[in-house]
Amino acid sequence: MRDGEREDLELHRRLEAGDRDAFDELYRRYGGIAYGLAYRLTGQQILAQDVVHDAYLALWRAPEAFDPARGTFRTFFLSLVHHRAVDVIRREERLRARSERAANLDPLVGEDPAEDVVDEAYLGVRSKEVREALATLSPEQRQVMELAYFGGRTQVRIAEEIGIPVGTVKTRTLAAMRKLRKLLEEPAE
């Protein structure tokens, strides 16, 4: 287990005891990633803010929803943020046009914009690894992953948008995730 994960567990333990300082620290630790993710999916600051707000409030109200036996805190919390963001964009279909830009393939590979506030060293290293891993996917695999994860599209919709059978979307998605899993299974030190 990496130091960052150990610290997360300790912060979560304190959160369960109602420690507001632990909440504050978890916000500083993951607020930027959560907001960046939510903004990328929703394409609107106000919606991204609502997503992050709701996710953190849910964490405060029910910290026991995280079970350390089922993965890292980071996995749990970023999944929570992602799910909420997807729910928002599905309710707000009118955001589609704006999220087209957000679903663009280019920003994933090699881009590290000035506003990047990843200040945790281990997260910074991991971010680079994830981007590099994504860059190794075939363009077809990366396209379905982009549309599903960052575009919030369903597999049926992806099939319609790029004109391939749904079965092919499923096959490409699984192949992409298996490849990413293999590339990312060695944790950053």
Binding site: A34, L37, A62, H83, D112, Q155
Partner: protein, 225 residues
Amino acid sequence: MTDHERIDELLAGYVLRSLEGEDAAEADGVLTDHLPRCPRCQGSLLELQEVASELALATPALDPPETLLPRLLRELEPKERRRPVAMLAVAASVVAVIGLSGTWLQGRFADESGSRREALANILDFAREHDAQMVPVGNVTEVSAPDVQEMYLYGESVRDPPDGSVYGVWLVVDGTPRLAGTFVPDGGWVYLRVTFESSYDALMITLEPEGSEPAEPGTVVWQAA
């Protein structure tokens, strides 16, 4: 294609939240029926969830608005006022809590297919962790385990109670029925988490007048010992 290959495809779509229609229903079935019995697929789900969450790191972090943290800190309830039910983190149809005092509370939440999957995943986690039994009680299923002071009731096609009525959930403790809470299906969907402080001998689901807090059970529609 093997069954497990097919299941992995469904799980990949599930963790990306990208399933709909028949695929979503099939994934629900896999999560409910297959996963509790298959360590291989339990492992696959965990791995895929981890990969999906790592993708968030590929997006540049952005500074949230400066007003967000102060707003959140203002809204944090003190610990003693926090609601005691973990399931409030996910949308669910009904949540009920009972203690020996007989007090209970109930909440209704948005009904969305994704939330249903999360609710089912919670039930599966509980079933897996405690090796729980699933017992049909009329149109709903009781998921409980010996010596665990928590159980779930869920159903996906529960008919509405007659107008002016709600369903009551009663736990019989030492021969005395105690009201755990009331519920109304949400589009046929029922999801209850019930916690209690002593084991119960039987479970009854009754019809109760809407808005009442009955001391005695009304008409029993389903029950299980």
